[in-house]
């Protein structure tokens, strides 16, 4: 009877011991799985974080470039506008000066030159020459006899004063005309005048030169 009781106790202990071992194994495996879950989650999050930061670096650089380039563009535009204002101011003074050319000492010489050029341009000996200048009247024009071809006819046209003054030559049939008013000359010389005024005022420096260098290096 004693032996049976001992055997039973051993069997009980064995059953419980196996159960505890199995329980320990379950817990151990669960702990390993838990570590794995945590590690994998951390690694995945760190990968995502790296991607976020890599994108952020690119975004930051793009934002920096965008801010700088837009401000540099605005500054360059400001400089160009300022230069343009200055050049236009000079050209306004030039127009003002041209509109008063009739009051200067070399007026006759100027008229003669304009007239000769116009007649040469249309290539006719029987040209009609309209002449008109601000601040003057028809009796002001005493062109020298050798200033015009013999066949040329001179007509005073006060409307030309609206174009700052000048002459318009046309052939006898009125088919060919050459406008040699100051307004027409200003238009023809537009680029040359802009270059001349700009280089006289600003020297050789191009507008926004420094900004262009910055924009290139940015």
């Amino acid at each position: 009877m004693m032996e049976m009781s001992e055997s039973l106790e051993k069997l009980r202990n064995r059953i419980l011991s196996d159960a505890r071992l199995k329980a320990d194994e379950i817990i151990r495996e669960a702990s390993q799985k838990a570590d794995q879950i945590r590690n994998e989650a951390r690694e995945k999050a760190e990968r995502e974080a790296s991607e976020i930061l890599a994108r952020a670096e690119a975004e930051a650089e793009a934002a920096r470039r965008s801010i700088i380039s837009s401000r540099i563009r605005a500054n360059r535009l400001k400089l160009l506008e300022e230069r343009n204002k200055i050049v236009q101011s000079v050209l306004t003074d030039v127009e003002e000066r041209l509109s008063t050319v009739a009051t200067t000492g070399n007026f006759q010489e100027v008229v003669k030159r304009l007239a000769t050029e116009s007649i040469d341009a249309i290539g006719s000996d029987h040209a009609t020459l309209k002449i008109g200048f601000p601040k003057t009247s028809r009796d002001k024009f005493n062109l020298p006899a050798d200033a015009l071809p013999r066949g040329a006819t001179v007509v005073y046209d006060e409307k030309l004063a609206e174009e700052l003054g000048g002459v318009v030559a046309s052939d006898s049939e009125g088919k060919i005309a050459y406008r040699n008013t100051f307004r027409a000359r200003l238009d023809r010389l537009d680029r040359e005048l802009l270059t001349l005024v700009s280089s006289t005022i600003f020297g050789e420096q191009r507008p926004g030169q420094r900004e262009e260098v910055e924009a290139t290096s940015a």
Binding site: A23, A30, K33, A45, R55, R64, L79, D93, R97
Partner: protein
């Protein structure tokens, strides 16, 4: 101890053993569940940190760009002052040359 008692004892022991294993399984489930929660917490923490650093980087980049832009603006203002000075000094010369060009060319 009778045979019936012995069988009873063994049945009771096996029941206890099942409970031990079942408790372990429940505990294991809790451990994994807890680990999943912690993992999510870690993930959120790491990503939140990354997002915070992203915002810092963007803010810093914008601030630095603003500084550079301000420097460019100061230089622009200087250039504009120089333009005005040049205009005051050379305007008459420019007008004279332009008038000469129009009259003579």
């Amino acid at each position: 101890m009778s045979g019936i008692d012995a069988v009873k004892k063994i049945v009771e022991t096996e029941e206890e053993a099942r409970r031990i294993v079942e408790d372990a399984r429940q505990r294991a489930q809790q451990i994994i569940s807890q680990a999943s929660k912690e993992a999510e917490g870690v993930r959120e923490q790491v990503l939140a940190d990354a997002r915070r650093r992203r915002e810092e980087m963007l803010t810093r980049a914008r601030e630095e760009a603003e500084k550079e832009a301000m420097e460019s603006e100061r230089e622009t203002e200087k250039l504009i002052e120089n333009y005005h000075r040049a205009f005051d000094e050379r305007k008459n010369d420019a007008v004279r040359k332009a008038v000469e060009l129009v009259l003579q060319k």
